[in-house]
């Protein structure tokens, strides 16, 4: 299995694995019912991502077979609703943009390009591609939370606020890049250098109303950095080393309220980190404060007890 993601509400679980399948389970009330087994990829599937529920039940998956598939639940059944084959090699990461921007999917690929698929209605998708985003390949993409620039007064209905869309990407060129949309084009806004080996994952922290932005990145060099930018214009990013692990760090992810960062990799552990008030990151590893329930779901078995 390469990825498992809960949907927005924690009621459904999507998993994907080397056997080319994408499976969806209903996990309400501790149950594990297989709802769908989606076939369509011709290679191991690397990642899945759920779109915001206001667009319906939509799931995106990306795979070694260079394809990105968007699946949708219609009348109780899951079907392929769109397939994108615009990349020349493995697509490693997919990430849906904040729902305020519409239904937009960013895909990072080993061919070094990043594609942005925007749903324009009636089954049509508009494609924008950033070629050579990272030399050798792009491993991860992560969107910045939607923040309306300027005044926070509620906009009259029907008018779309002018969001500044941004996302971060990490690649095999050891860099993290921040991309900004300007005049309907995507431009590289920042280049963050600190890693000495391939960047494996980036995660942009959810916003809690402060003017600062925070990005976590992890790399093959065993390091995890926390990048913060204090001003709203997004110009000066400063890294802070969270920790140096003894092994490759594969995955970083923020909790909903961005107060805990989870890191996996290095000595087979998932560690949890929290920032103390004086800005220092401390490992809490409090996945389970002494007690907790661990229940297992076994994939691929039809007859569950």
């Amino acid at each position: 299995m390469h990825d498992a993601q809960m949907d927005y509400y924690g009621t459904r679980l999507a998993t994907c694995s080397s056997d080319r399948s994408v499976k969806i389970f209903d996990v309400r009330n501790g149950g594990q019912i297989l709802i769908a087994d989606l076939r369509g990829h011709e290679g191991p599937v690397w990642q899945v991502a759920w779109a915001h529920p206001m667009y319906g039940n939509i799931l995106a998956s990306c795979s070694y077979d260079r394809k990105v598939i968007v699946w949708k639940e219609e009348n109780g059944t899951w079907e392929k609703t769109y397939e994108y084959t615009g990349h020349d090699s493995s697509v490693n990461s997919v990430c849906w943009a904040p729902h305020d921007y519409g239904l937009i999917l960013a895909c990072g690929s080993s061919d070094g390009a990043i594609s942005l698929l925007s749903y324009t209605g009636d089954g049509q998708w508009e494609i924008k591609k950033i070629s050579n985003a990272h030399t050798i390949g792009c491993n991860a993409v992560s969107w910045a939370p939607a923040v309306v620039p300027g005044s926070l007064i509620d906009q009259p209905s029907g008018q779309k606020p002018n969001y500044i869309k941004r996302f971060a990407s990490g690649g095999c060129d050891n860099l993290i890049k921040i991309w900004k949309e300007e005049d309907a084009q995507w431009k590289e806004e920042q280049k963050l250098e600190a890693h000495s080996d391939w960047v494996r994952d980036v995660a942009w922290a959810p916003s809690i109303g402060l003017p600062t932005s925070t990005i976590a990145s992890c790399s093959q060099d065993g390091r995890v950095f926390i990048w913060t930018c204090d001003d709203a214009s997004g110009n000066s990013w400063s890294p802070k080393l969270l920790h140096k692990f003894n092994d490759v760090v594969w995955h970083v992810s923020w909790s909903i309220t961005a107060n805990i960062l989870a890191v996996s990799g290095g000595d087979n552990k998932v560690t949890l980190w929290k920032e103390s008030v004086d800005g220092v990151w401390v490992c809490i590893s409090d996945v389970n404060k002494g007690q907790g329930a661990v229940s297992a779901i076994t994939e691929g078995q039809q007859n569950e007890q």
Binding site: M1, H2, A4, P53, S157, I256, T257, G292
Partner: protein, 650 residues
């Protein structure tokens, strides 16, 4: 990297083979998924399967039935406290805060009781174990809270302090009663093996009357020791205690106490009790002899009991600031060299040392749920005790804990509603936390969605309102409940969606000849203006209504207006014109000449719009329709002209 006081706890996931596979994870609302995988990802070769996903849950307590009552009732107390009058100053405010503290404690005790019942009634050993553990945790919580109440909320001064501490000890060392009951109910109480233990424990807890009562049994049973009993009884009776209503000052009390102490001393030195070891030991205890008291270790069971007993008999007017020294030495004496410190011990010690933040910190580490520290800290914050401490978080400590607690509540399908109120009372981050969490609540039913919506609307969380309405509208469309979808999209002020749904309605009408959800469409009101298509839908329905009420000329006017004002989409014009047919065929002339010309123009516009190719491909039905219309229009025109001409004429 900062040093932590304790090593981060390690959670072992059973069944994970860490040698062959690596762990990866994903966040879920309220939980975390951990699954085995193999890295690196680049190669595509087939690998042995990694079928397992583990769900690791942070807070199990939210799911416990009995604890739920704790959460619910404490929520009520919490909200009441936030809203209570701050204007009350001094004594009345303090009394109010003490009441709140007692309320919290009674809720804990009630929960404990229930848990205890459960533990006794269940026959499943794991459950019983679980419940019993829970009971002891709750009991420890109440013990700590009670002490904090005495020291921090009540902030009892010297004199009263000891009285409260005595009450505290008496309340929490419960084995006394059962033992005493056994002794008293036996045939010959004074001969019972636990008799002297009972007397001792009463003395140790300063319960003089009870001790004297037991002693009288000995006196009556054993005439030889009656003399000694009488003297001891007398000493006990005369022991000066500071009762709550007493008006004597501390100095007066101390003086009296000194006299009494000396009297006891004299009797001991005279050897009055030398023939009865038990009574001699009691006299020594009365004199505050540490060793004598320590001998009764088994009865006291805890060092804090020892502490209070010591104070009762050696420093009854102890001041709060002096407590720490006595506490430390009591613990050392009691535990001897075996420093088997439990977390509870360090928490209580921190309390005796008046290190509030230490208490909170230790409790946070020791307990599995934020409930306790969140509510206690909030209360202490209301007592204005947190600001004076130089904490990392200052007054934000309270908010930090409340945020953590409330966040935990959100993973529960109904307790989340309590969480909302907690966020409301966190001035800095409460709102944004609420925004982030409330979006994750599954909107399984319409009622739940409405509940969430109401909460968002009350707090002007417009983004969330829109988002929820959109989600519900989408859901309704998927389940073919168009009326519901329409009302949700109106509520979301989502013009695009409203257009979509209106189209669906119109499509349905074309296919079935009737509208569903008439009530909704009839009562659209000003929301009709949200989207053009919606306006058309509303007006079109109005046309049908007018027709049904036989208000033909009004209906006719409306119909025409729909086309000329371009409210109706071109695709619908044919249908509208077809709808006009019955009006054209009426006996009475409804459409005026002018109007008929308009209609004809519309028809021509419509047919002219088609290219030649289309004209050729148009099927017979279409052609026939157009022909019929042309005919009807012509006939109507004729009649209209005649009618109008006639009127003019006369």
């Amino acid at each position: 990297m900062e040093e932590l006081d304790v090593e981060p706890p390690l959670t072992l996931i059973p069944g994970v083979d860490s040698k062959r596979k690596k762990l990866c994870f994903a966040w879920a609302p309220g939980e975390m998924l951990v699954y085995e995988t193999l890295f690196p990802k680049e190669c595509a070769e087939k690998r042995p399967g990694c079928p397992n996903i583990f769900i690791v849950r942070k807070d199990q307590d939210v799911y416990s039935q009995t604890l739920r009552k704790l959460f619910n009732e404490s929520h009520g107390i919490f909200v009441g406290l936030q809203r209570s009058e701050e204007e009350l100053a001094g004594k009345s405010r303090k009394a109010q805060l003490v009441r709140v503290s007692k309320n919290y404690r009674s809720v804990i005790r009630a929960c404990m009781e229930e848990m205890h019942q459960l533990a006794n009634s269940t026959r499943v050993p794991e459950l019983q174990c679980q419940h019993s553990t829970q009971v002891s945790i709750l009991s420890a919580m109440e013990l700590i809270w009670n002490l904090c109440e005495i020291l921090f909320v009540e902030a009892a001064p010297a004199g009263h302090l000891l009285l409260h501490l005595l009450d505290w000890v008496r309340l929490h060392v419960c084995d006394v009663d059962s033992m005493v009951h056994e002794v008293l109910s036996s045939e010959n109480p004074s001969k019972h093996k636990d008799f002297w233990n009972a007397v001792d424990i009463f003395v140790l807890q300063g319960r003089m009357d009870d001790a004297r009562h037991l002693l009288s049994k000995e006196a009556s049973a054993n005439p030889t020791s009656m003399g000694m009993c009488k003297i001891l009884d007398d000493l006990m009776k005369k022991m000066p205690i500071l009762s709550v209503g007493n008006t004597q000052t501390l100095t007066e009390m101390e003086l009296k106490w000194q006299h009494w102490h000396e009297e006891c001393q004299r009797y001991l030195q005279d050897g009055t009790f030398s023939s009865n070891l038990h009574m001699e030991s009691i006299c020594k205890i009365l004199l505050g002899d540490e060793n004598a008291i320590l001998e009764k270790k088994e009865l006291m069971t805890t060092w804090y009991h020892f502490l209070v007993t010591r104070l009762v008999y050696s420093h009854p007017t102890v001041k709060p600031v002096e407590l720490r020294f006595y506490a430390q030495s009591s613990m050392d004496l009691f535990l001897g060299g075996e420093s088997s410190w439990e977390p509870l011990d360090s928490i209580l010690m921190a309390a005796f040392e008046f290190e509030i933040h230490q208490v909170i910190k230790e409790c946070s580490i020791a307990l599995s749920n934020w409930w306790f520290v969140a509510h206690l800290t909030d209360l202490l914050d209301h007592c204005k005790l947190l600001q004076s401490h130089n904490l990392y978080f200052g007054s934000n400590m309270r908010e930090f804990l409340l945020l953590e607690y409330a966040s935990g509540l959100f993973s529960h399908h109904s307790l989340w509603q309590l969480g909302v109120d907690y966020f409301d009372h966190c001035p800095e981050y409460g709102k944004v936390y609420l925004e982030l969490h409330i979006e994750r609540i599954p909107l399984n039913t319409e009622q739940k969605a409405l509940k969430v919506l109401r909460i968002c609307e009350q707090r002007q969380m417009h983004e969330q309102v829109r988002s929820i309405c959109k989600i519900m509208a989408m859901k309704a469309v998927r389940n073919n409940r168009l009326g519901s979808a329409l009302s949700w999209s109106i509520r979301a002020k989502d013009a695009a969606f409203a257009t979509l749904i209106s189209d669906r309605f119109l499509k349905d009408y074309c296919e079935r000849g009737s509208f569903s959800d008439l009530d909704l469409i009839d009562n659209l009101g000003p929301s009709m203006l949200l989207s053009d298509r919606l306006t058309f839908l509303g007006k079109y329905r109005e046309f049908h209504r007018l027709y049904g009420e036989k208000r033909f000329s009004e209906a006719a006017k409306l119909l025409l207006m729909l086309m000329t004002a371009h409210i109706a989409p071109c695709s619908f014009w044919m249908t509208l014109l077809t709808d006009a047919l019955p009006l054209l065929e009426q006996k009475e002339v409804i459409f005026s000449a002018e109007q008929t010309y308009e209609l004809m123009r519309c028809l021509e516009d419509l047919t002219a719009g088609k290219t030649d190719n289309q004209k050729l491909q148009v099927d017979d039905v279409e052609t026939t329709k157009v022909e019929i219309l042309r005919l009807a229009l012509a006939r109507n025109l004729a009649r209209a002209i005649v009618k109008e001409g006639t009127l003019e004429g006369s």
